[in-house]
């Protein structure tokens, strides 16, 4: 289990939202979300944008922001924290 509840929530969202065939705990914190690793492509990212925006009430308006937010699971957690703080 991840000590950080937000990290655990993000992994859980990735698995359930994108119907991945892995356990949330098996996703590495610094794994890139797209490309190799989880086997997700840039079109899957569209769905993740919608899921993350809905769940965490933040905005990922374009590709530039998306690239930053989805660099890794850790990056996504940091991005959500940052956006919520603003």
């Amino acid at each position: 289990m991840d000590a950080d509840p937000l990290l655990a929530e993000v992994k859980e969202l990735l698995v359930s939202g994108l119907r991945l065939d892995v356990r949330p705990a098996d996703i590495a914190d610094d794994a890139p979300i797209f490309g190799e690793g989880l086997g997700l492509d840039s079109i899957d990212a569209l769905e993740l944008v919608v899921l993350v925006e809905e769940r965490f009430r933040i905005s990922i308006p374009d590709e530039e922001v998306g690239k930053r937010a989805f660099a890794s699971v850790n990056a996504l957690v940091d991005f959500i924290r940052q956006e919520r703080a603003e």
């Binding site: 079109i43 569209l46 769905e47 919608v50």
Partner: protein, 249 residues
Amino acid sequence: MSLAGRRALVTGGTRGIGLATALGLAESGAAVAVSWAHSPKDAASALATLTARGARAHAVEADVGDPAAVRRMFAEVTESLGGPPDVLVNNAAITEDGLLMMLAEEAWDRVVRTDLTGASLCCRLALRGMIAARWGRIVNVVSPAAFLGQEGASNYAAAKAGLVALTKSLAREVARFGVTVNAVSPGLVETQLLATLPPARRQEMDRQVALGRPGTPEEIAAAILFLASPAASYVTGTTLHVDGGLTML
């Protein structure tokens, strides 16, 4: 009532093809929002007609070529229909005709911005709700000009041809989310514009149509409604030519 529980947005939906489409969507059970940019009188009358048929309806003023206005429009429509639209009909369009060599640069820009960029902006905002729902229908209204070219309307023809290409590309991008994207290409349609043409020009235009007459807004709306309906679940990225045999594509 094949669209019961659905929410639809028809841009340029207060007259002509847009209004006929909005009425058809309402009769299929959808809550319907229509956008308008030029005539508050048409907007009021369209809204009255829609609500008289028992539909949940809303009219919103928006220049679809203005990103900020499109964002406001989506917020307003989502609020008034009780959720984001899951059917989007990009019908709003303008023309500013002129031979290309002499066409004002602004006339090129305005037509491309409204007819092509406007549809793209609306798609972008509509997709978030559609992907979340894993269901959506986008229908873009194009023109035979996109396929045949049209002298004196290169800006309009180029914008509509661009919209055909956008339709195909976006259809590929969002298919896996249960969202279909198609186009309808209406030929000559009985509208205010057609009524102002000289009789000789009218006859010449009718002769080019295999069915020998212009279509009605309702005949175009029927094709749009089909593409928005569950019956069209296996149709995406295509253009339905509803032109009485003008192009035969």
